[in-house]
Amino acid sequence: MSPNRTDTLIPAIIKTSLDLPPLWGRLAFLSPGEAELVSHFELPEGKVLALTFELGRASFEDLRARIKKALRDGDGYYNYSLVFLDPAQSELLKAAIAEASPPLK
């Protein structure tokens, strides 16, 4: 994550379980199949999350993803590599990304 762009990254609500209040973080990278999440909350590798965020005009709620890898940076923030689990949700995400991305010339 580029530290000087942190506050421009997409904020996201992170649900870890139905019993616990949600957490939050920012998406540093987003693709139809994978994402990178930055948060100061610690989560274990392998945990399945549900992400809620907005991308352009589209809103995504409870996109299921698994933490593939977790790395802690020097400031104490965690960088999580995520893999989206639901292909249907990934398709929706793909369309939203295509819409939000600037057209190639």
């Binding site: 530290p3 506050d7 904020p11 996201a12 609500i13 209040p21 939050w24 965020f53 923030y77």
Partner: protein, 379 residues
């Protein structure tokens, strides 16, 4: 790292908690009661980040908006009083960097504080590599300088201490060729020259000329000195007593002596004159007339110059090629004779002598040059 942060918090209890936390984090926290208070000191405090306690008036969203209006790029972190992800994300969408959850602890705030300070702008750093290179170069240059200075100082010290001292010259060539009398003062040497009719005062160290006094009315062939006067003997046999003022003012004159003296000295009690041609030494009263007490025959071979101190008479004898010491009580008795190596020069003719503090001074002619030199008094 610039560590000033601003905390907007009205609650005294929360302030106390936050003060402790930020102090432990190493932050220089500036507290404000409300937004207006914060904005009034914002320019002065110039914080790297702003932390807003949530749940106070005005709401965090308004404070966030106003702060970003003043400083669009400053990291703002609301401190939530309960874990509310929706609100956190809402504030983050409104421009907050992140949100802290309750309870506020050092562990909870540390990553936010550190990230916020890192976000405070483009990291500006001097070219530390070049700076370090310059510093290293400077340090090496200074070390080299001191090493060289120490080496040079040691070398100089060693040279001064262990190298043989250059012998101080014991003889000096004179810029005139006919010295006739010599007198030693504290730090100068006074020499009379008969040909140029002048008195030359030389620095005793290097024999540089300090002063020249012209004697147009007389031709000095001998000179003697006491503490407060000097005597100049002319070619006509008259001896003049002169004061030691700037112009060597004449104090008295004697009648013309015959034969005319060509050496003179004062032993502190009596006045002595000598004539080299006749080989005679005359003991005189020290009055203005320099009345004769007794005449002595020089017992050596040839008297070329005479001087005295309060113990002995000293004569330069070119035939004996040495310095002859005579008794003041009986000048016709030679006490000792010491060879002078300067007589190795066959052209040397000693014409004047003086004795001062155990040193015998000589002046004379060596070929077409005037010469002055001195020797330690023979034991």
């Amino acid at each position: 790292m610039f560590n000033t942060i601003q905390v907007i918090c009205a609650s005294e209890k929360d302030r106390t908690i936050l003060k402790g936390i930020f102090r432990n984090l190493g932050a220089d926290a500036v507290f404000s009661n409300d937004l207006n208070d914060a904005l009034s000191i914002f320019e002065k405090a110039r914080p790297a980040a702003v932390f807003i306690a949530d749940g106070e008036e005005p709401p965090a969203e308004i404070q966030l908006r106003e702060l970003r209006r003043v400083a669009p790029f400053i990291p703002v972190i609301p401190l939530l009083k309960r874990r509310d992800a929706s609100r956190a994300v809402g504030l983050m969408k409104a421009g907050a960097l992140d949100c802290a959850q309750s309870p506020w602890t050092e562990e909870e705030l540390r990553p936010l504080y550190r990230k916020a300070l890192r976000l405070s702008g483009t990291a500006i750093e001097l070219d530390s590599t070049a700076l370090h290179r310059r510093r290293r170069t400077l340090a090496l240059a200074i070390a080299a300088f001191f090493a060289f200075a120490g080496f040079a100082g040691g070398l100089y010290y060693g040279f001064r201490k262990y190298s043989p001292h250059a012998p101080r010259p014991h003889s000096f060539y004179l810029p005139y060729a006919h010295p006739s009398g010599i007198m030693i003062k504290k730090d100068s040497v006074l020499i009379s020259d008969w040909y140029s009719q002048g008195l030359y005062e030389h620095a005793i160290k290097n024999f540089g000329i300090r002063r020249v006094t012209s004697l147009p009315e007389m031709t000095p062939v001998a000179m003697a000195a006491s503490q407060d006067a000097l005597w100049l003997a002319g070619t006509n046999g008259v001896i003049e007593k002169r004061l030691l003022d700037a112009r060597y003012t004449t104090a008295s004159r004697t009648a013309a002596f015959s034969p005319a003296p060509d050496s003179a000295c004062f032993d502190g009690l009596y006045f002595w004159t000598a004539n080299s041609r006749a080989g005679t030494i005359v003991k005189r009263m020290p009055g203005d007339a320099l009345g004769e007490i007794q005449t002595f025959k020089y017992p050596g071979q040839k008297l070329s110059a005479l001087t005295c101190d309060n113990r002995f008479l000293w004569v330069a004898d070119p035939v004996l090629r040495g310095l002859v010491k005579l008794s003041l009580e009986d000048p016709e008795r030679i006490i000792s004779k010491t060879e002078l190596d300067v007589y190795a020069s066959k052209t040397l003719k000693i014409t004047a002598m003086a004795s001062k503090d155990g040193t015998i001074w000589f002046a004379g002619e060596d070929g077409d040059k005037g010469l002055a030199f001195y020797k330690d008094e023979p034991k």
